[in-house]
Each structure stands twice: as C-alpha cells, then as structure tokens.
C-alpha cells in the first residue's frame, strides 16, 4: 500500500489562505500606487504597531469562534481591567501584583461568561452582549467616568517600550505563536475545534464540552486584559471608554476575514493575523490618501460584509 505523505506546511498554508494573501497583496499594491507616503518604513512600522491590540483580541476570539461561540464583551473587559490596574497602580501596589489582579479580573469575566452560557444553555451572543453593557458600566463606575492618568515607568517600559517597533507587536506575536501551538498540537486545541458546528460529536465521545467552553471564554478574557495593558501603555492612561466600538468589532471581523467561521470548527491563527493586517492596511492606506473618515467607515464595513459573505459561501460548499 502506498502511504500518503502529509503535504508540506507551506503548501497547506497556501491552500488555506491564498484568498486573503492575494487580497492583502492587492490592497498594498493599490495604496502604494495611490500615495507616496504609504510604502515607507515609518508607515509600515506604524501598521504593524497599530495591529498589535486588535491581533491580541483576535487571538482570543479565534478560540471562541472555533468552539462555535462569540464574545462581544472583550472591549468592555479591556476598559474595565485597565481601570482596575490603574487604580491599583495609584494605590502604590507593586506593578506585578496589580497586573496579576487585573489579569484575574479579566479571566473572571470570561469565567462568568462561560458558566452562564454553559449552565443555562444560552446563546453566547446574548450573554456576552449583556456582559458588554454590565462591564462597561463597571468601568465607568470604578473610574468615576474619568480617565486615570499616569502609569508606572516599569509598566510603560515593558508594554510600550522605546524601540523601533514598540513592544506591542512582539507581545502580540508571542501570544499568537503560543495560541497556534495550543490549537494545533494539544489535546485541548483539538477539543476546542471539535465543539464547532454543533457539539454532538464531541459530547458523545466523552469530551467535557462545558469545561472546554468555559476555558475559551476565560482565554478571551485573558487576551482582553493583555490588550488593555498595551492600550494603557500607549496612552499612559486608563480610559473607561476604551474599546468602545472598533476594537471588539475588529476582533471578530479579522478572524473571519482570515477564514475562521462563525459556525466554529476552524482555528486559523494565521488567518487572524492576515485579517488584522488587511484591516490595518486599509485604514492606513485610506489615511494616506486623505480619504475622509466617513468613507473609511464605508470601506471597512464593506470588507467585513464581503468576508462574512465569503464565509457563508465556504460553509455551504
């Protein structure tokens, strides 16, 4: 019997992402031609830097999407945990302790999301939508509606940094690599993917579907906190209105653009990266062209619609 050899990673990546890669190349080509400022070292670094926060949120979202769920509350969690960390910093707690507590807070929010969804068998959309409101309210309450200004030096040094790129993108890529490892190579990753498209198969085989689901929401909460740290470091302040709209919407749109599905079952980490890049390039390019903000909204929205349509076509095939 002839044994089939596994396709090389390069081939597999190409098979899966040729659509997004082509789009990315076309987009970059277009903007390079339409603005002299686009294809410069400064701007490219900017694009990568600006992608960091969305990327981290997207990675968390990849876990959630793969399990067939969705998490709308990440923006609020980002704001809330930022406020918590800032308050703790202001209370002179050691930086590490404050960071740890903020991370636990974020994971707690994820835990609550997961438990409510699995225990009461509710739609993730509704539960996380409610959480979006509640946590945003908490952020406003704890902060008194005002930003908390001034982060400790060590914090800034780590999460913002002074290097060419800024540390954000490296932290994001580090988390991404970790996520890819877990999703591709571990039992947990397999189980997360097995929940997509209806959990019957996984349940019947004895997979603890509740436990896995709760875990993915905790992961999403964790990512929201890390993203929050980057956010705060870049503004040197914790804002209760952080992550109000764009961030969490992109966290959902980018993975979908990259091939992940709202139905679940797919955990395309590279796809999330590509999706984030597509959105960042478009925003940057339109700025370089001097296109008004309103047209930018139309452009981004169109891309998201196109991605979702493509996703539904892919699902039918």
């Amino acid at each position: 019997m002839i044994r089939l050899r596994q396709k090389s990673i390069f081939r597999r990546t190409l098979d899966r992402y040729w659509g997004v890669i082509t789009s990315l190349l076309v987009i970059n080509l277009f903007f390079t031609l339409t603005s002299e400022y686009y294809f410069t070292a400064y701007n490219i670094i900017n694009i990568l830097d600006h992608s960091a926060i969305s990327l981290i949120l997207s990675i968390g979202m990849v876990f959630v999407l793969a399990s067939g769920g969705i998490d709308l509350s990440v923006g609020s969690t980002l704001a809330f945990t930022g406020i918590i960390a800032a308050l703790l910093f202001a209370a002179d707690l050691p930086i590490l302790i404050a960071i740890l507590i903020a991370i636990l807070a974020g994971m707690l929010i994820g835990l609550i999301n997961g438990v409510v969804i699995t225990h009461y068998k509710l739609q993730p959309f509704i539960v996380t939508l409610a959480m979006l409101s509640i946590v945003r309210g908490l952020a406003l309450v704890f902060s008194g509606g005002n930003p908390i200004i001034g982060m400790p030096q060590g914090f800034l040094a780590f999460f913002a940094g002074d290097t060419l790129f800024g540390n954000g993108i490296f932290i994001a890529l580090g988390l991404t690599a970790l996520a890819a490892l877990v999703l591709e190579k571990t039992k947990f990753g397999t189980y997360v993917k097995s929940l997509g498209g209806g959990e019957e198969a996984a349940f019947l085989v004895g997979v603890n579907t509740s436990k896995i689901k709760i875990c993915v929401y905790i992961i999403s909460g964790f990512c929201a906190v890390i993203a929050s740290f980057l956010f705060m470091a870049s503004m040197d302040a914790a804002e209760p209105i952080a992550g109000l709209t764009t961030e969490w919407m992109e966290a959902i749109a980018a993975p979908i653009i990259g091939g992940n599905s709202l139905d679940g079952g797919k955990a395309y980490v590279v796809g999330a990266i590509l999706g984030v890049l597509v959105l960042s390039c478009i925003k940057s390019g339109l700025n370089m062209m001097g296109v008004g903000q309103h047209y930018q909204q139309i452009a981004i929205g169109s891309v998201i619609v196109a991605a979702v349509i493509l996703d539904s076509i892919r699902r039918k095939l």
Partner: protein, 364 residues
C-alpha cells in the same frame, strides 16, 4: 496550481511596480507654486494680539486632527480651517476619529499622519491623554504642534512625555455653561426653580468642564435648584429620552442646561412632547445653525457661542506665524471670546456674525 499562478503573478506585478513607484516619488517636486494669499498681510481676523499675518513664504502643509466630523460643531471647525487656508494660501488636510468615543483610532490616525510629513499639526484630542504617545513622537520628529480647541495637554504631561506644544487655542468650557446658568437666573428672577444639566460623553474634558461650570455657577444662585446632572453622550436622542424622564418625574422643571446644541434640541423635543412648550428654558452650547433657527422660531431659548469657526481660523493664523518665525512675541494661550445668544439678541447677533459662519450664511 491555478491559485499558485495567480499569487505569483500578483507578486510579480507588485515586485516590478514598487520600484517604479518609489522612483517616481523619489523625485521631489521642486515646483515653486505661486502663493495666492488674499488675506496675507492683514491683521488677524479674530485676535488683534496676533498682529499682522504675513503672506506665507511657501505653501505650508498643515495637518489637522479634529475630534470627529459627525457634529455641526466640528463641521464649523472644519470650515474655519479650510477658509483660513484659502484666505492665506496654505494647505490643510483634515482628519478625525470616526466617533467621539474612539480613542485608539484618533491616536493611530495621528500616527499615520506623522508619516505624511506635515509642517505643523493642529490637534484636538478626544481626552487629555489619548494622543500623548503620537504627540511625543511628533516632537521627536521635530514636527511642531498646536493644541486646538477642547482637550488640553497639561504642562505636567508635556514634561513627562517630552511634548512641545507651541500654542493653545482654546475655550473656557466652564464659562460656556456658567453663562447658561446666569441666563436662567436672569430670566427666572427671584422665583427661580428646578434646573438640570445634561452632559456630554463622560471622560472627555469638554463634557466634564461644562458640567463643572454649571455646578459652580448654580451654587451662586440660591433661587435655582439643581436637581441633577444626566448623561446625554452629546446625542440628540439620548438627551431627548433623558429629558422626557426628568419631566415625567418633575413636571415643575423650569430650565434645562445642555452641554451642546444637539442635546438642547433633543431636550426641546421632549418638552414639546410633554406639552410644556414655553414653560421650560433650554440653553445649549455651540451656536450651530440648527440651534439658531430654533431660537428664532421659539424653540430652545439660548446657546453659548464661542466661535469654534474662529478658533480654527486662529489656529491656522498661529501656525503661519510660527512657521514664519514671527510667533515668539505672541501670546501662547488664546481663549476664544464667547457670548450668550438668546431669543432677545439672536437676530442682531446673526447679522453681526453672518460673514464668519458659513452655517449662518446658509440660513436666510
């Protein structure tokens, strides 16, 4: 195989075109454009202390970052910038965040703007702190900054982050609403009555200061009773809903101070729906055309005008002065003047300022 070839072709095209484009851009256009400056050489339009604004020696490029463009206020600002640019023969490119809540978008866009090599920047940050990082970068890159309208980069922050701000063109927000309260005190006399304030998106300096101005001033007038500050998020509908709720609980409400005209108009709608037209005083801030029409037609009662158009105009003048090296002896902080326009004086005010406000020009 087919997909592979598509990618290769695109990559190839990309690879060959890029050098061409880069080359083309490499040749800096050394054209000397003729500067058309109708107003060059005249005294500043809005602030005599600036003295004469010179004809610019070259077509300076000014990058402008407004808060947002979804508001009549900021559109007036845009007009101010553009008119000034036309009048003096310089170039402005205007950017803004998609909504007034999107902090990161404003920061990211500003960073993008830094790559476009403007000669000077005029920024109106959404909060006191969301633009600190990109502004620090700007200073590092040697791009001068004017902090224009709304949020203030404090001295402390400037030092901490090494940001150099060349000028502040701004407004005393507290005074905006202090004027409204004084107007209420005047109109309601000794009887006084219940008053509320509807504020803008919490967290923003403008919203916070206008609320604080209201609270400060109302202390001074014993006959006015503050029964609450409510959140309207700068939004007409939200303000309407809030006002409706308050009217329901307090039918004897006498006045509503709204932090901007949008919300004042919303509050007026609520008052109308409750059948209480004429019984509740409503004052807004911003003096946008819709508000003025409303005052003239007996809708809302007053608005604080502080010439956002003028502030933008002044920013451009300040920019030119700086770039022409004539700024050293000029005041670095400019508070724009403000007035309260109400049913008693609105028509004359409109006549007086018609030239300045494009919005007013659109009205008959």
């Amino acid at each position: 195989m087919k997909r592979l070839s598509v990618i290769l072709i695109v990559a190839l095209v990309f690879a060959t075109l890029v050098p061409c484009v880069v080359c083309a851009n490499g040749e800096q256009e050394a054209e000397v454009e003729e500067i058309v400056s109708p107003r060059g050489g005249q005294i500043s339009k809005f602030n005599p202390e600036f003295g004469k604004i010179p004809v610019p020696s070259k077509k300076w490029r000014i990058g402008v970052m407004e808060k947002s463009l979804i508001n009549d206020f900021w559109l007036d600002v845009k007009n101010g910038y553009e008119d000034a640019a036309k009048d003096y023969g310089v170039e402005v490119e205007i950017f803004a965040a998609p909504t007034e809540g999107d902090l990161r978008a404003q920061a990211n866009t500003l960073e993008d703007m830094l790559g476009k090599q403007y000669d000077i920047l005029c920024v109106s940050p959404i909060t006191d702190t969301n633009l600190l990082a990109p502004l620090a970068k700007a200073t590092k890159m040697g791009i001068p900054i004017i902090n224009s309208i709304d949020a203030h980069i404090t001295e402390e922050d400037q030092k901490k982050h090494n940001i150099e701000i060349e000028a502040f063109i701004t407004v005393d927000f507290k005074e905006n609403t202090r004027m409204s309260v004084r107007y209420f005190a005047e109109q309601l006399g000794d009887e006084g009555g219940k008053v509320i304030h509807i504020m803008g998106i919490p967290g923003g300096r403008c919203a916070e200061e206008r609320r604080d101005g209201y609270l400060e001033e109302i202390e001074k007038h014993g006959q006015l009773e503050n029964i609450g500050v409510y959140n309207g998020d700068w939004d007409r509908k939200k303000a309407m809903d809030v006002a409706a709720d308050v009217l329901q609980a307090n039918p004897d409400l006498k006045a509503i101070s709204a932090a901007n005209d949008n919300m004042a108009l919303g509050a007026y709608q609520a008052v109308k729906n409750a059948g209480k037209e004429g019984e509740v005083l409503i004052a807004g801030v911003d003096s946008v055309p819709d508000a003025i029409t409303s005052i003239t037609n007996g809708g809302i009662d007053a608005t604080t005008a502080f010439f956002q158009y003028g502030l933008a105009y002044l920013s451009v003048e300040a920019a030119i002065l700086y770039l022409e090296d004539q700024f050293d002896d000029k005041p670095k902080t400019v508070f724009g003047p403000q007035e309260i326009w109400h049913s008693g004086n609105v028509e004359s005010k409109v006549e007086e300022y018609r030239e300045m406000y494009v919005g007013l020009q659109k009205m008959e």
